[in-house]
């Protein structure tokens, strides 16, 4: 009997722990989860700094000539970006003037907060990033996150020094989009994406007059009507639309930017009125 009890002890212990966990109040569970994440965060952040250091030493292995050449390339890029920034400024001024002239409503303004990606978490159930900025930089839950290729996703959880971003390839992310050149909002939702697949999303309630195919794709951009994302940000490319059986709408498939799964830097748009 004692021997048998000894054999069963691990299972009994597990059962007791599970039972105990079930009986713990929800508030304690939430606190524990948050604490766990906060405790884990420094490790994740430290790991990302270690990676940065690793990259640094990798770069140190390059010859001076290579570094000088890279520096020149960078200088050229900087120069072109400087020019682009100047053009953007003048275009923004022109847009502001036209908005004032046409009495258009001004869109919500955002502050850009650039953040480094410290962890990517892709699976069939969720597609998330952890970024190296959190409450310490005033990042709120729900803030849109973008990169050079368009929309990354939106902030779903914020911690002291980190934040979790749900990617637009995550099935639980849904937003109002428009086909470029159209004005009727349609529903975009992340698709069921497995770890190594090219990310994709699905669209619903597409007007019947929208046609798209892999050879004649259409660009899908944010509508700006939902109040979360500013308008005109790239979401992906519509490669397929099919009419629904009831003939009311079409639904389709959107190919997302493959760089979503390899991002190292993103920009969080912090709404100014949130602050």
């Amino acid at each position: 009997m004692p021997k048998r009890f000894d054999q069963a002890r691990p299972f009994l212990t597990l059962a007791l722990v599970v039972l105990g966990w079930l009986l713990v109040p929800v508030a304690v569970k939430l606190f524990t989860r948050a604490s766990f994440f906060e405790l884990q965060a420094p490790l994740t952040v430290a790991a990302s700094y270690a990676r940065d250091l690793q990259d640094y030493w990798t770069l140190r292995l390059h010859s001076n000539s290579e570094l000088i050449e890279a520096g020149r390339d960078l200088a050229r890029l900087n120069a072109s970006y400087e020019e682009a920034v100047q053009q953007n400024l003048s275009l923004q001024a022109e847009i502001a003037r036209l908005e004032e002239l046409l009495k258009l409503p001004a869109y919500a303004h955002y502050r850009s907060e650039h953040a480094r990606v410290v962890r990517r978490d892709f699976s069939g159930w969720w597609q998330q990033l952890v970024i190296r900025k959190g409450r310490n930089f005033g990042i709120p839950v729900g803030a849109p996150v973008i990169f050079a290729g368009g929309v990354v996703g939106r902030v779903s959880e914020v911690y002291a020094y980190t934040a979790v971003v749900e990617l637009i390839s995550d099935p639980s992310v849904r937003l109002a989009a428009v086909v470029e050149g159209e004005n009727q909002p349609i529903s975009f939702q992340g698709g069921v994406n497995t770890s190594f697949d090219a990310p994709k999303g699905v669209i619903e309630f597409v007007p019947l007059n929208v046609y798209a195919s892999p050879t004649m794709p259409k660009r899908l951009v944010t509508s700006g009507l939902g109040g979360v994302f500013p308008p005109g940000l790239n979401l992906g490319t519509i490669i397929k639309v099919e009419p629904s059986l009831d003939g009311l709408y079409k639904s389709g498939e959107v190919q997302l930017d493959p760089r979503l799964s390899a991002l190292t830097e993103v920009t969080v748009l912090v709404p100014l009125n949130e602050q």
Binding site: R174, P185, Q189, F205, L225, P243, S244, G247, Y249
Partner: protein, 662 residues
């Protein structure tokens, strides 16, 4: 002590039952009990083995529910494939109540506890607790929506109670007909996995607003939708509201436009909530499309012209037909109503406004007017066919007044007298005296039989059979028998004179006159109008009128003279009504409705040498006894339609293939 025990035993001998190991009488009851158990077991076995189907059916009836969803209606297009009526998405935010079962139960428990803690003695009943809990939970979800949309909508408790009682399996609509921006906000604001969802249904979409309103018609709510070949007809069924055509093409072609209903069958819990996934599911299918013969460009031209020339809210109509096929190109009726105000349903104010403006009626088919002088074309044909007049014979000297049959007959057209006119000029100048005389000459025995027979030959005495509801049957070609029967009076020569100029009891609709002039254009007697377009529509061929070439030439010369130097010439000479390079013929008319208003008429076809389009316009004056002439008020409208038609003929629009073939 032992003694006491013995005494007790003695005393209890009558009370305590003592058993033998074997009791024959009990054996009997064993059999009885065994027999009863056997019956029970047999009954159970019978029910299980032989009544299986019945119980399965009962279980099915008790545990399964069917939901029917109507299919979207088919679209209606014009002859060039432009959508006249379609479906537009209609978004609503709905709450799936079956996902809230535990919340309702918990809420009811909390409310009950609160009442108990408050020591309230006047406790609600169990049903009332449940209702309070439901309203409370639903309001909590509605507040989420309110927060996103910046609204302050409250739950309607009565409506919610009805929904629970009758439509528990259907989602409960919190806010209907969302604006696109609201829809977008909810798409982004609501969690993907939530009992709150944006629900899309369809409602009719009218891209041209009030254009062609009477012809297209509108739809109403239909609750009795059916799904053919979908199983579970005997199950308790919940039906989403569908639509049914109430007027116009929507009504006549309702069966064709109706979509095929879809449906699903769910197993339900004892409380009536559905259990996913469905046991059966079929998606609804859109109804068949309808391609009409209407040219929406011409239609809008006609409607704009009526408003511009006759005035806002004037009563009138214009019909244009393809001469060869009888296809209706234009069917304008004013005043009209804005079909966009019928979705999702017309308000009381909308209906009151339509009634106040008398805008319900499709004047092209429901208003029967005296045709006035446009009838002189028919009088001419009848008189020539029976040999009463010849094209080159001046049958009368019009001095503006003619004394005959002991009374004066007045020529109402022209300030002076027309003199001795021949038929072409009599038509062009619309000389009443000429046609009084022509009428009398056709009736040797002073009855109008020849005129009436000719009118009947052109089918002016009956409905056209157009594919629309509410075509009036009040059109009338009178004769002596009719007058005797209805009024008990004899037919007098004055009646013949009146009939010869389209007055008296003669009544026709604008559509009939359009068919009449199309028939004259083809030199035939009957044109069957249709609102359906076919690319390979056959050319209509009916009985020939039977005029000699000389007679027909005179008739057409008169009609062309009407627009070049006759009663319509003055107005049509204005630059905006000129149609370069096109010769056309017409006839004006000004009909008096006794004791009421005048009706301005104009019938025409073009080109005169190769007829393609025929038009009839009838506009009611708004002031009794006002001089409301066809040349001034009706002819310009027809001219604008013709002008647009020939502009389009030279630059036809590209055909847009409908989204779904018929």
């Amino acid at each position: 002590m032992a003694t006491n025990d013995t005494n007790l035993a003695d005393r209890s001998g009558s009370l305590v039952e003592s058993h033998k190991s074997y009791q024959p009488r009990v054996i009997f009851f064993y059999f009885v009990v065994f027999g009863l158990l056997a019956i029970l077991a047999g009954g159970l076995a019978y029910q299980q083995l032989f009544n299986t189907e019945r119980h399965r059916e009962n279980e099915r009836m008790q545990n399964q529910r069917r939901i029917l969803v109507p299919g979207p209606r088919g679209n209606i297009y014009d002859r060039y494939g432009r959508m006249l009526v379609g479906n537009r998405p209609r978004f609503a935010v709905v709450l799936y109540l079956d996902e809230l079962r535990s919340e309702f139960i918990n809420e009811a428990r909390v409310i009950r506890r609160n009442y108990a803690e408050a020591g309230d003695k006047d406790l609600p009943t169990r049903d009332q607790f449940n209702q309070i809990a439901r309203v409370s939970v639903v309001q909590r979800y509605l507040d989420q929506v309110n927060q996103i949309l910046h609204r302050s909508v409250k739950v309607d408790g009565t409506d919610l109670r009805k929904h629970f009682a009758r439509q528990l399996l259907l989602p409960y609509t919190l806010i209907d007909d969302l604006e696109p921006a609201e829809y977008a906000k909810l798409v982004e604001g609501l969690p993907v996995r939530s009992p709150l969802q944006v629900y899309a249904s369809s409602t009719r979409y009218y891209p041209y607003g009030s254009s062609l309103a009477h012809t297209l018609g509108y739809v109403g709510v239909e609750t009795e939708i059916t799904a053919e070949d979908f199983p579970g007809e005997d199950l308790k069924t919940f039906k989403m509201k569908g639509t049914i055509g109430r007027d116009g093409l929507e009504k006549v072609f309702d069966t064709r436009l109706q979509g095929e209903a879809g449906g699903s069958i769910f197993r339900v819990s004892p409380a009536g909530y559905k259990i996913n996934p469905p046991l059966e599911k079929r998606l609804p299918v859109q109804g068949k499309n309808l391609t009409t013969s209407i040219d929406i460009d011409l239609q809008r031209t006609a409607e704009d012209a009526i408003e511009k020339i006759a005035g806002d809210d004037m009563i009138g109509s214009a019909v244009a037909l393809d001469v060869k096929t009888g296809e209706v190109l234009v069917m304008a009726s004013k005043p009209d109503y804005d079909l966009t105000r019928f979705t999702p349903r017309p308000s009381h104010d909308t209906i009151a406004d339509i009634e106040a403006r008398k805008a319900w009626a499709n004047r092209a088919i429901s208003s029967a007017y005296p045709p006035g002088s446009t009838f002189k074309i028919l009088t001419s044909i009848a008189a020539m066919r029976c040999g009463a007049i010849q094209p080159d014979e001046p049958i009368v000297d019009c001095e503006g007044r003619l004394h005959k049959f002991n009374r004066d007959f007045v020529c109402y057209n022209g300030k002076g007298h027309h003199g001795e006119v021949l038929l072409p000029d009599a038509i062009a100048d619309s000389c009443d005296i000429f046609f009084y005389e022509a009428g009398w000459r056709t009736s040797a025995n002073r009855t109008p039989e020849v005129l009436a027979a000719e009118a009947r030959r052109f089918h002016l005495d009956r409905k056209t059979g157009i594919e629309l509801p509410h075509e009036t049957g009040r059109m009338l070609i009178p004769d002596a028998a009719y007058k005797e029967k209805v009024r008990g009076e004899k037919w007098y020569p004055g009646d013949t004179a009146n009939m010869a100029i389209g007055q008296g009891d003669v009544l026709v609709t604008p559509l009939e006159m359009a068919c009449f002039v199309a028939s004259v254009a083809r030199n035939e007697t009957y044109t069957r109008p249709t609102l359906l377009h076919r690319d390979d529509a056959p050319v209509q061929h009916t009985e020939l009128i039977g005029l000699t070439p000389k007679q027909r030439e005179a008739l057409l010369a008169g009609m062309e003279g009407c627009v070049t130097h006759g009663t319509a010439a003055k107005t049509l000479a204005l630059p905006e009504f000129q149609i370069p390079g096109i010769r056309f013929g017409g006839k004006t008319g000004t009909a008096q409705i006794p004791g009421s208003k005048n009706v301005a008429w104009f019938i025409t076809f073009a080109p005169i040498d190769n007829p393609q389009i025929a038009v009839a316009v009838a506009i009611e004056g708004d002031t009794p006894n006002e001089e409301y002439g066809g040349g001034r008020y009706a002819a310009p409208i027809a001219a604008l339609i013709l002008k647009r038609y020939f502009e389009k003929r030279d630059h036809p629009p590209a055909f847009v293939a409908p989204a779904q073939s018929e």
